[in-house]
Subunit: 422 residues, 2 copies
């Protein structure tokens, strides 16, 4: 088979790039590829059903995507339906991949992720210094990235790059505006990583909780709901929201700062952001451990789990601390349910532990305070994805242009080092 | 010219309807028509620039839309550019129209709105009974609607029906779930109005504050921003949010209940929803008038304006009441800015009066409590559209399918009474 992923670069589209609304390009090709990326192999007839087009349309779309090296067809499995068995269409996970990065509070991760979402190869290191500089972080990540590209099969091509970052990120250009945990402000992380990688591809950068939400929506606890609220706790409380199937990012990418919703304006605890009574200040790890009389002890998931375990074993102080956290988390949940009418509300990181320890309290608050119609179908859940949820979200960010306009992205894709010609 | 708006009905598309994602249909035809609907007549070259396609593409798209009766071309005005002057493409406002309805707290309104957004004809009545029944409301509106259709020019065709409703509305089917001001719960308003109109068109129904937000976004104080928060006060406090250019409605249509965000959980005023310390309870008209010692006096805009005027004239009680409302409105604004990173935050109804009277207080709260990156570009504004903002939003709702898939909507459109053949 020829290798059209390594197509003639510079086959320019007949129009300038960038300004076309996403409705105008890609169309059904993108819709079909997105279905395969999200759900895995589907039969032609399943695709026809889900897209509400006829099978000859599917045949044509599949042929174009197969010629571009993005999908392949496999012999059918029996369907139980009348008529000829329908051939299975599969995403070519070993031919089209993205690089995904995660700059987390405690570690740096890079992975090669195939079309369809599987992590094909992965590199990780703990962050050695509390406050590393831009050059150091970019150097480590670009080294990982280069090694992952070099180790990829010859027929495989990188179609996008995405990164998750533990701070406030400007969506337009990947500038890190503020990352207290890194000691960073206004550093051009995305462009710097792109230059150092040297793949000729831009790096799409997103806030870690946004991308955690995206991952839970695509492949985790939110699957099946078009509207999802994700609340994540580690050192602080972050959030991500999916509205109508799309990530809420706001005008500049700073949206969904759910941890900085003021719930206790009078007498609330001071927050790291400089305000008072924010959700983060009331339900974050620090507030819980302090209320449980455990400030100075173990922190993170271990510290929070210890409080939950102690409460379960009858420790009254731990129980009170958890009840307090549950009340505030419940009030936060009331507001988010009334604002977003979501199908799922997902608690991640240490908040998943707090949810487990205070679920009854949280549900009582939700029942008392949220609008009946808004809560009637919402499900409260803990996150389904583990530590790689942000990495998975970064991969989704990197795949997004391909899934919007598959052939356009391939046409515009620069030829990469190490790739042969067709 | 023939009259293709009155096309052969039943020219079925080759696929079942309803399941196709909006990216898959209409494409550039919809993008072009939407630009004209929103901005009015544009030259071919302006369209080419905005859509980032070449002029021959525009020529083809325009020809198809003109053949369908949706646009017409007019001689160019001088552009100042080199080359031939570019012809002007205009939406056919007198040929394609929608019916828009508004069921408000105090009145019933119906209008015929042309492509491009102009109200072409309008009927209105005050609501006579406090708690009218479904049949009465639907009867009045359908009577108005029938008269508007009858009075339309022979070449004009109705391409959609939308309604704004002062209550919680299920988006999927136009069921009114709760409307305390009407005494309604679980009444199938949308389907009943559709049946009574007898046009063979579904009625898209939306919450009034959602549609107010949509109208401010399309044609009012939010123009130019992809993310907008609209807070509206009348008897209660409602809200609408535009996220990335789309109305936030949630899984069932109940989203953006900004008035029921709890901001004062301990010691807050009881709210009509049964909870306590909701934004509505703290900043609504009733709270302001009570704090100003004017409970029992004039209500609505007149009552609120009197407080603002008194404060400006030196009345200390009125000033304190306004400061109090400003503080709570400011805390609400902090949360909404941190959650949505909007380009514009718009205050409508009585809240526009409160904003005028307490702007400094509100801005001080926003500066103290919101994240610097999230507030750096947001503009706080009062609503630009008057009493017809919900009606205008209902018209946008009605036009939405046509602007997504212009030819598809016309193909599926039933022939209406009174329309001649081509």
């Amino acid at each position: 088979m020829s290798s059209p992923l390594v197509s003639d670069a510079g086959a320019a589209a007949d129009a300038p790039q960038g300004a076309v609304p996403e409705t105008a390009r890609g169309g059904n090709l993108g819709v079909l590829l997105r279905l395969l990326h999200r759900h895995g192999p589907l039969s032609r007839s399943e695709l026809a059903d889900r897209m509400a087009v006829n099978r000859s349309t599917i045949l044509g779309l599949t042929a174009r995507l197969a010629a571009a090296g993005l999908v392949r067809e496999e012999p059918a499995t029996a369907t139980g339906r009348a008529g000829r068995p329908s051939r299975l269409v599969c995403p070519e996970r070993d031919r089209a991949y993205v690089l995904a990065f995660d700059v987390a509070v405690d570690r740096l991760v890079a992975a090669r992720v195939g079309l369809g979402g599987a992590v094909l190869e992965r590199r990780e290191t703990v962050r050695r210094r509390r406050y590393p500089d831009l050059d150091e972080v970019v150097g480590v990540l670009a080294g990982f990235g280069g090694a992952l590209v070099d180790a990829a099969p010859r027929a495989a091509g990188c179609v996008g790059v995405g990164a998750s970052f533990c701070g406030l990120v400007r969506a337009a250009d990947g500038m890190v505006r503020l990352a207290p945990n890194m000691g960073w402000a206004d550093l051009d992380f995305g462009p710097a990583l792109g230059r150092r990688l040297g793949l000729g591809l831009p790096v799409a950068v997103g806030n870690e909780a946004h991308l955690g939400a995206l991952a839970e929506y695509e492949r985790g606890a939110g699957a099946g709901s078009r509207n999802l609220v994700y609340l994540h706790g580690d050192v602080g409380v972050g959030g991500g929201v999916i509205v109508g199937g799309r990530l809420l990012d706001g005008d500049d990418g700073y949206g969904a700062e759910l941890g900085h919703m003021i719930v206790n304006p009078h007498g609330g605890r001071p927050c790291n952001c400089g305000s008072r009574g924010c959700l983060e200040a009331e339900v974050g790890e620090a507030a819980l451990l302090e209320a449980a009389g455990r400030a100075g002890g173990p922190v993170g998931r271990d510290g929070v789990r210890a409080v939950v375990d102690a409460a379960a074993a009858g420790d009254a102080t731990a129980r009170q601390a958890l009840d307090r956290a549950g009340d505030w988390l419940g009030i936060g949940a009331v507001n988010l349910i009334n604002l977003f009418n979501p199908g799922a509300m997902v608690f991640g990181g240490v908040l998943s532990e707090i949810y487990r320890g205070a679920a009854a309290r949280i549900h009582a608050r939700v029942d008392a305070g949220s609008l009946p119609v808004s809560r009637e179908r919402v499900e409260l859940r803990t996150a389904a994805l583990g530590e790689d949820s942000c990495l998975s979200g970064a991969a989704e960010l990197a795949f997004a242009p391909l899934l919007c306009d598959p052939l356009g992205v391939l046409e515009r894709r620069p030829r990469q080092l190490g790739e042969g010609s067709a």
